[in-house]
């Protein structure tokens, strides 16, 4: 029967990931994947806004994570380490993709029980994110999507905590400005 590592700390999981036992490292990896795959995926998708590329980089993040964790124990926490790998890969991709135009996907996917209005707002937020500078965008995504603390954001992005806070706030302000007409409509409809 497969063991359950869901109660283990990240530190313990990292220790097991480095185990020589394939079964142990597989179960530990599965637990890490369960815990952090959604955050890594959200980071890749919202920072790149390119679904196919985000999927490729997402896979690469976890493969590199596993390979690196076997050789060096990360100094940072697991989620921060994963986001750092994702960030490096995304930056590499964006660097190699200079002068090419990103065509935004227009497909809208509706989930059961989710209103159209919510999806519409989400699309607008996604569009607004695209208009932000990369530094602000990724700080916002790390904070709002990945739930990283300002300290973690500062560590991953090699900046100060004050800068990290400022970037998140500026990003939110900018998004609000872009969404203002829609948000006003929303407020009027409620009244």
């Amino acid at each position: 029967m497969r063991q359950n590592f869901s109660t283990y700390t990240d530190e313990k999981l990292v220790f097991l990931l480095r185990s020589d036992s394939k079964e142990e490292s597989e179960i530990a990896f599965t637990e890490v994947y369960n815990r952090y795959s959604s955050r890594v995926h959200a980071y890749c998708l919202r920072v790149l806004n390119d679904y196919e590329q985000a999927e490729d980089i997402f896979q690469e993040v976890f493969i590199r994570f596993f390979q690196k964790i076997k050789s060096n124990y990360p100094e940072t926490n697991v989620s921060g380490y994963l986001i750092k790998i994702a960030r490096n890969l995304c930056l590499n991709y964006k660097r190699d993709k200079v002068n090419t135009i990103n065509i935004q996907e227009n497909d809208i996917y509706f989930e059961p029980g989710k209103s159209f209005e919510n999806s519409e707002l989400l699309d607008l937020i996604t569009t607004a994110l695209e208009l932000l500078d990369f530094d602000y965008k990724e700080a916002f995504v790390m904070r709002e999507y990945d739930g990283l603390s300002y300290n973690e954001i500062a560590e991953v992005t090699n900046t100060t905590v004050t800068n990290a806070k400022s970037r998140v706030f500026r990003a939110k302000q900018k998004i609000k400005e872009i969404l203002q007409p829609y948000l006003k409509d929303m407020a009027n409809n409620e009244n």
């Binding site: 994947y33 919202r46 493969i63 996917y109 919510n118 706030f169």
Partner: protein
């Protein structure tokens, strides 16, 4: 006052205690402040409901675990699949199963072809009109075969007589296809002089002779006792007699393209995915009627009762169907066109198909087919009907017996 900053800090949990008191005090009288809070809550809720961002595709999950040599956990996959997320994998990933199925089908077909036809050699191969030769003549007789006395009194080499006897049994089968003269030629080289007379038989001779030597043919009922008849029947079966049952069995592989843009792939493909097994009864030279079982996937996109949700999935289906095939009565270089209409069902709905293709029969018992096919899939969700469709390329081999 910058309410955005105020609410941002409040939601961040970094607002000072006194500022927080002031903010709550202002809420009752400040519409702008309340609106700001609502807007920021709406943005945060929208982000939290961004399931597309938070849900890695099943393909990615499988890709990660496969790359590391791990089995993707069912719990992970189960949590991913219902989300209706959009998967847009790379070209090879997307069509990997199709390539594998196609490769397996092609290799299987080639192996069967080589096994049955042995096109690179002439030994024991299917016969052409020019080199028809009795299989029986090439078979050695069992060593345990008892010594049977000849009806002729002056024949010392009884073993040679057995060979002669085998040839007689086979002569009627080829009497229409092969000049009798060739039989005589063969026999002269292998039969003792004192038997030459008995070897120079013609079909007419077979009909008219009633002497004791030829009565061995008529006495062939004795041969089963020697354990010979069974072997001879097996050889006859290998010879693919023209007396066919009018049945054909077709093994078919396929490659498909869904007409709606695929946004999700099956987590796991059935090992027989995109392959079919069909059995046909050939009513005449042009029409054949049959049944088939096929393993396939269909990309389904359907909406909820109120049209406020769209569901997407691509399950594996085992589809059972009946086929009506029409083969055109003309050909070019042995290649002739055919058309096929099919109807069937699987666990989710009904399937209807139309196929146009070409077939080629290098041998009368083997036919290769290739065709383009349209498949429609009609199913119901909450009593509301939906149709999805796909086009495909079918390729198969048919055994006629």
């Amino acid at each position: 006052m910058d309410y955005t900053k105020l609410i941002h800090d409040f939601m961040d949990g970094t607002l000072e205690g006194t500022e927080e008191e002031q903010m709550f005090f202002q809420f009752s009288s400040n519409d702008e402040l309340r609106a700001e809070l609502k807007q920021q809550i709406a943005i945060r809720d929208a982000i939290r409901n961004d399931t597309r961002a938070f849900t890695p595709t099943a393909n990615s999950t499988v890709g990660v675990f496969s790359a590391l040599g791990f089995n993707p956990p069912s719990t992970v996959v189960d949590s991913i699949l219902p989300a209706g997320n959009a998967a847009k994998p790379g070209f090879f990933t997307k069509y990997r199963q199709g390539f594998i199925s196609a490769a397996v089908s092609i290799v299987g077909t080639a192996a069967l072809f080589l096994l049955l036809m042995n096109p690179f050699g002439e030994k024991n191969t299917a016969q052409t009109n020019n080199n028809k030769q009795s299989y029986a003549q090439t078979q050695t007789l069992p060593e345990s075969m008892p010594n049977v006395q000849s009806f002729s009194n002056d024949v010392p080499k009884t073993e040679v007589r057995y060979i002669t006897k085998v040839r007689y049994i086979d002569v009627p089968r080829y009497v229409d296809l092969q000049p009798v003269q060739s039989i005589s030629d063969n026999s002269v080289t292998s039969i003792a002089d004192n038997e030459t007379a008995s070897s120079d038989l013609t079909s007419a001779d077979l009909d008219s002779h009633s002497n004791s030597e030829f009565s061995m043919i008529n006495n062939s009922n004795k041969i089963p006792e020697l354990g010979y008849e069974t072997k001879n029947d097996f050889l006859n079966n290998l010879n693919f007699s023209n007396d066919q049952l009018g049945l054909s069995m077709e093994l078919r592989g396929s490659m498909y393209w869904n007409l709606k843009k695929e946004t999700i792939n099956p987590y796991q493909f059935n090992k027989f995915n995109n392959s079919a097994l069909a059995l046909y009864y050939n009513m005449n030279d042009n029409f054949a009627f049959g049944a088939e079982v096929r393993q396939e996937t269909f990309f389904q996109k359907y909406t909820s009762l109120n049209d406020d949700s769209t569901f997407e999935q691509q399950p594996n289906f085992t589809t059972y169907g009946i086929n009506l095939r029409y083969s055109a009565p003309y050909d070019y270089l042995g290649i002739s066109p055919f058309g096929q209409l099919s109807g069937g069902f699987n666990k989710a709905g009904i399937v209807y198909r139309g196929m146009l293709g070409l077939k080629y029969s290098p041998y009368y018992n083997i036919t290769f087919t290739v065709g383009g096919e349209y498949s429609g899939f009609r199913y119901y969700h909450n009593n509301k009907g939906f149709v999805d469709s796909k086009i495909g390329l079918n390729y198969g081999v048919m055994f006629n017996f």
